[in-house]
Symmetry: C2
Subunit: 480 residues, 2 copies
């Protein structure tokens, strides 16, 4: 009862007594004088100690409960809620791992790969160096030295990148949203690959745009379909992921890249290039961004760091055509003024110290091993009712089953066996059913990949068998 | 020349030679082997060292120049740019201070007041505790323990705030933008106070809304004008700052608060309450948020931390009516997925350690002193051609001159004398000319306030004299 005797109630105060009691208890909980799972005094006892009505304490406890700071056990009393419950839960990977030991659904790296120590060093160094200025107003376009180091480090094949072309964003999703805001009007057509990243669709739809899906093939978007529809509908924007497309993992050929640019030019569309994984090129071929082939300055390039580092960093950048720079900067200002100065400064230092380059090498090494396992497995388990394509990097595999099989059903059946995949139906605007699904190796290690694939392929075989009423091994054409 | 001998050029490499040279030089600059303002070798010399063509080095230097990593001095050569120039500049407050010694235009605290040490401690503690999870995916609505501590600490008069009602945002501007996104359609009417915060207008206009200005009086918005227009135009949204309004510093009376809520209810409008400064209440009267008087759950409350801490923190929260919670969370997801997890966790700890409360006390003490100086000055310099209103907190003063005087002209004249104020014309949607201006005491200390006010009042007197062709001292009515 000790901490409670320290509570002083002022009956002259204009503040209600129960609010005074509530605030005192809150402080005791926050400063750990009453510990998680510790029982609060019974109502009568506390009212006696404080010299207040029972009702006062009842109301104070109620407020604490509404704040989720305490919880009730029926017939037992009121206890302090463990405020760190959520922290513990999320760190409790073993729990998740116990339920889903084979998780091919997550498309970002696991927390253990994040370079925490490096980040601690750069953040400390920034706070030491810049003090309060790290939290001052920052240019909407982004902290200049950061744009400088980005232009130097991420030029790729378009080396001569000017810091003035760069717009800092709070992650790739914001980049897509800024484009929707500054380029699209209500009722405009936006062309997307099918399948595609549905987070982008959400931004386009919020702006009132009309979505048209163009199929993607193994060497890039279907240029014929694109060209036909473009003539007819005159899209304002074409949204693509030319390298390691999500969810398919496909890369555009150079011809397709050039073809896309010409079609966009001829119908007056902007191209929005979402580069979420080109850093993770583990193959031999060069993967250049579209802009390397663009003579017209019509490509808005959006770059995420989430796939090499962590999604919660909320930092990325875009390269903006000259004609759109003012509009994008204005839209950024109206959206959130600027991206966190601290994070921009920390990441700037992270690049300048060469730590980003080191992290890429580490991540590639890890993904390389995983790619080796999955491609070895796929090659040695060829069956006619499963089609796949080996990507040269990234971490997504697009697996297509016999057209009569439903990937939603597969997803739910696998779920019961501890395997998570994403059904193809997740990645379309209109299509409700798909015989394809996505495997991501971003958050699953080699041993689990091997075992998980075994379960997946057994399940597909079983589904195929049930569907055709025949023994596995028959050709697709014989069944349909 | 020493570092240059370490450069190795691979003539078999598929990468162009000049790009290889560029990348090597870039590394030397980044790792400080060549120092800021150090001269790069003459073209011929470096080509000789590396065994490459002159043109190769010329092109490499050109790329470095485009990255702003080097600069040229005509007739002298190429030098390494001081990458920290911007850092030094912005820290060089003396420079700004030399040009504008009396700055009443800035409306956020100066960097020296930011609790850097406290933030360093909480960030380090979070990284130590949560490791990579601090950068993992976070709920769009916000990190739960953070919402928990916010609901406990910021309840104000609406104490029983539920963490589920809270939406974390990357600053107040984002909150306004999310409301525009989820509530407004193209062509909807939005009512705003006149004058108002123009950053909000930008968000509404981007969404294609039509803005209608309703005058604000010393005790709050003009209810009669509001009610008339509301009946006619049926606004979707009414945007207000009921406490220490920006730019006027006016507070709504309780009657006006209730009246506004009833009008909104009757025309079916949502109210967007922007609370940027209620923490800085230095008067005796309580300033309750609108929601304290709202029986209809029609108020979206947006809260900024920028004015107590720093604008570059990019963190805030909103309290969302139940009917809008899903839409706002979806809009947040489409905008930037979530706010930085690291910042949410750090600020959560900052609150739980009681550091926020301490910072408020500190800031109030500082502002209190500044208020005392300015109100003493104003009271002892009463002239008939200047009207003002003393706010009970915040940091904005709205000064209105004789209607024949133009605040734009005053602003430019003061500018030449080292005084910065913001002309009233900045704060309107349509009105191009104003005889009012805003003084902000957020970033100017007592001594400067006193001296700056002297210059301002002298200038107004001079303008009045020129305009009326008479000696100061005449009544306004005699002039017009």
């Amino acid at each position: 009862m000790q901490p409670y005797y320290g509570i002083t109630i002022d009956k002259q105060d204009q503040e209600h007594l129960y609010i005074q009691v509530y605030k005192h208890l809150r402080t005791l909980i926050f400063n750990n004088s009453i510990k998680p799972h510790e029982k609060l005094p019974p109502i009568r006892k506390l009212s006696a100690i404080l010299g207040v009505n029972n009702v006062t304490v009842v109301n104070a406890y109620k407020l604490l409960e509404e704040d989720a700071l305490v919880y009730k056990k029926i017939g037992s009393g009121t206890y302090v809620a463990p405020v760190e419950d959520e922290l513990e839960n999320e760190r409790d990977m073993e729990e998740r791992h116990r339920i889903v030991p084979y998780d091919f659904s997550v498309s970002s790296p696991t927390a253990d790969l994040f370079p925490v120590k490096d980040f601690k060093i750069v953040i400390d160094e920034v706070l030491e160096r810049d003090k309060g200025y790290a939290f001052g107003y920052h240019e909407s376009q982004g902290f200049f030295p950061f744009r400088q180091s980005l232009s130097a480090m991420f030029g790729g094949s378009k080396v001569a990148l000017d810091p003035d072309q760069i717009q800092i964003i709070s992650g790739a999703q914001q980049g897509i949203d800024l484009v929707a805001k500054s380029v699209l009007d209500y009722g405009d057509y936006v062309f997307v690959e099918a399948p595609t990243y549905t987070g982008a669709l959400a931004s386009f739809k919020l702006k009132g745009a009309l979505i048209v899906e163009i199929p993607i093939l193994e060497d890039g978007i279907d240029l014929e379909a694109l060209s036909q529809q473009a003539k007819k509908l005159k899209p304002k924007l074409i949204y693509v992921m030319p390298n390691f497309q999500n969810p398919t993992g496909y890369c555009y050929s150079v011809e397709k890249k050039r073809g896309l640019i010409e079609i966009a030019k001829s119908c007056g569309a902007w191209i929005l290039e979402d580069d979420y994984a080109a850093d993770l090129n583990t193959g031999d071929a060069l993967v250049s961004p579209l802009s390397a082939y663009d003579p017209y300055d019509r490509i808005i390039y959006v770059k995420s760091f989430s796939k090499v580092l962590m999604p919660g960093l909320r930092l990325g950048y875009m390269v903006v055509p000259e004609a759109l720079q003012d509009e994008i900067a204005l839209a950024k200002h109206a959206t959130d003024i600027s991206t966190s100065g601290l994070l921009q400064r920390a990441f700037d230092l992270y690049i300048r110290k060469g730590l980003w380059d080191r992290q890429i090498v580490l991540m590639k090494r890890i993904y390389d091993k995983r790619h080796a396992v999955i491609s070895r497995y796929l090659k040695s388990h060829e069956v006619p009712w499963v089609h796949y394509h080996l990507p040269q990097g990234g971490y997504n595999y697009w697996i297509t089953m016999d057209a009569a099989l439903n990937a939603d059903e597969l997803m739910w059946r696998l779920n019961k066996k501890g395997v998570a995949v994403l059904s193809g139906s997740t990645f379309y605007h209109l299509q409700l059913k798909s015989s394809s699904f996505r495997l991501s190796i971003a958050a699953i290690d080699e041993k689990e990949i091997e075992a998980g694939l075994g379960i997946i392929f057994n399940e597909i075989e079983a589904m195929y068998h049930e569907m055709s009423g025949s023994k596995p091994g028959l050709m697709k054409s014989q069944v349909l």
